[in-house]
């Protein structure tokens, strides 16, 4: 066995670099079309090394949500299921909470110097 070289930034670093460019990108397996988040080196389950980057639609649904109650202030933590399939941990901005099933739209924000994906409630009757 001769170990191969590993060149350039890995999937986590690539994801972060896209966010810094203002792009919310997720991976998709070329063979199956399965979307993947969080970014990996290989498709989970199949192990296929065929993951490509695609622009996320930004659309999703609140799968679950809780409000963390702290003396320093309350904030929500949500699991949003992207229309593409994967879920991410995030926050619904501008509201204390939202109903499970609410439609939401992603945008990139900055938290303590780090670019992250947060969500807003989708406009009623809008493009979401």
């Amino acid at each position: 066995m001769i170990p191969t070289q590993s060149q350039g930034p890995g999937p986590e670093a690539q994801y972060r670099a896209f966010l810094d460019e203002g792009r919310f990108m997720i991976q998709r397996s070329a063979a199956t079309g399965q979307h993947v988040f969080y970014p990996r080196v290989a498709a989970p389950g199949s192990g296929a090394m065929d993951l490509e980057w695609v622009e996320a639609s930004g659309r999703g649904t609140v799968y679950s949500i809780t409000v963390n109650r702290a003396r320093s202030g309350d904030y929500n933590i949500a699991l949003v299921q992207l229309d593409e399939g994967p879920r991410l941990l995030t926050r619904i901005e501008g509201v204390e909470t939202a109903p499970i099933g609410a439609r939401v739209k992603a945008r990139i924000a900055e938290v303590e110097g780090e670019k992250v994906v947060v969500f807003d409630l989708a406009e009623k009757g809008g493009a979401a």
Partner: protein
């Protein structure tokens, strides 16, 4: 492939517990050490007889190295598997396999934590999950709150049903002189307690206590000659599904639905054979989920099943007779404490909370954020 070969081949013959509640001035390894010495003595053995060691804590990176050094033992078999609070149920299987293979003759499984005295908060050595960390989830309550919210949404489970689980645990604890939290607790007390993360209040969450626990396992043929009635290991099965709550396929279905059948198959038993049901109650929602996923009630019905005293003293199912993590003891990683209560009940030493019959006990451990599930079935000689 048959997996009946380790059924009943090993038994727990010694148990020890120290500092359940508040143990100021004691470090984690000191509590672990005292519990270990107590368990070895309870087994009628000497420390030099211990040649197998399983350990996992939240404060030791190399747990078996630390414990073996502290106690002055040189094991031929050692396993520091850490999958969270269910590690100890998995250790039962590892120990059974090692004993059966003749790699060792007496295995010590042990744990200790001083997290209450040290800071009053759950301790973890874990790396942060980079894709979650900016949103400041609280480990682990955020994940369990998300699971509870989803279960309420899908199945109409209510906060009142969750509260009844805490009330039942307290009623058992009130029969247990070793329980840390005793005294009256009503449904309203639980509902009106301080909210931690919707929908879970402080009373929906396990205690944060100090505590050391240990047990000793030997092969069955030797067990009969030792001091106490042996608690035979009849079956163990495990599953793990994720690390991050973002990767849990369905927040209302844990892989206890996989670990349970594996354990029952090894033991040749089914849920209705269980006299005692010890379920890892880190939160009221976990008792509910495991009642469902282990087959004690249909999926979605856990809240309705646990209502109105059904799992309390005098109810249809004896669940968490020690008072559980919710009212007896919970020093961070709780899996070994479930096992100790089961052994105590099988031996007939549970005093006021003793079940009339305890031939089969299920000990179900949970780890991480519903991440790992390990089911163990222990039994008396009558269950062999």
């Amino acid at each position: 492939m048959s997996n009946m070969s380790v059924r009943g081949r090993t038994a727990i013959v010694g148990v020890g517990g120290v500092g359940w509640g508040e143990a100021p001035g004691r470090s984690a390894i000191e509590l672990l050490g005292e519990a270990a010495i107590a368990a070895v003595k309870d087994a009628g053995l000497e420390l030099k007889d211990i040649d197998g060691l399983c350990a996992a804590t939240s404060t030791h990176a190399f747990p078996t190295l630390s414990v073996a050094e502290y106690l002055g033992i040189r094991p031929t078999f050692f396993d520091g598997t850490n999958i969270g609070g269910s590690s100890f149920e998995m250790h039962l299987l590892q120990a059974a396999l090692a004993l059966e293979a003749g790699i060792c003759n007496a295995v010590l499984i042990c744990y200790g934590s001083n997290q209450r005295t040290a800071g009053g908060r759950l301790v973890s050595m874990s790396e942060p999950q980079w894709h979650e960390a900016p949103f400041k989830p609280r480990h682990p309550v955020t994940a369990y709150a998300l699971a509870a919210q989803r279960h309420m949404h899908e199945y109409g489970t209510t906060r009142e049903m969750l509260a009844d689980i805490a009330v039942a645990a307290r009623q058992w604890a009130n029969k247990n002189p070793s329980a840390f939290a005793r005294g009256p607790l009503t449904r309203e007390d639980v509902l009106n307690a301080r909210m931690i993360s919707d929908p879970l209040t402080t009373r929906d969450c396990c205690l944060v206590t100090d505590g050391g626990a240990a047990c000793v396992m030997v092969r069955a043929d030797r067990a009969k000659d030792l001091k106490h009635k042996p608690a035979y290991v009849l079956g163990v099965g495990g599953a793990h599904s994720h690390r991050s709550i973002t990767q849990m396929a369905d927040l209302t279905r844990t892989v206890a639905a996989e670990s349970g059948p594996r354990a029952f198959q090894m033991a040749g038993l089914k849920p209705s054979d269980c006299d005692l049901v010890m379920l890892y109650d880190a939160f009221t929602i976990t008792t509910l989920l495991f009642l469902e996923d282990l087959g004690f009630c249909p999926k979605g019905e856990g809240g309705r099943f646990a209502q109105d005293g059904n799992i309390a003293p005098g109810g249809a199912l004896a669940v968490n007779t020690s008072g559980g993590g919710l009212s007896c003891v919970h020093p961070g990683m709780y899996g070994l404490f479930l096992i100790l209560e089961a052994v105590t009940q099988i031996r007939g030493q549970a005093g006021e909370r003793q079940l009339d019959t305890c031939d089969v006990a299920i000990c179900h451990g949970n780890g991480g954020v519903l991440s790992s599930q390990v089911t163990a079935l222990l039994g008396s000689e009558a269950a062999l």
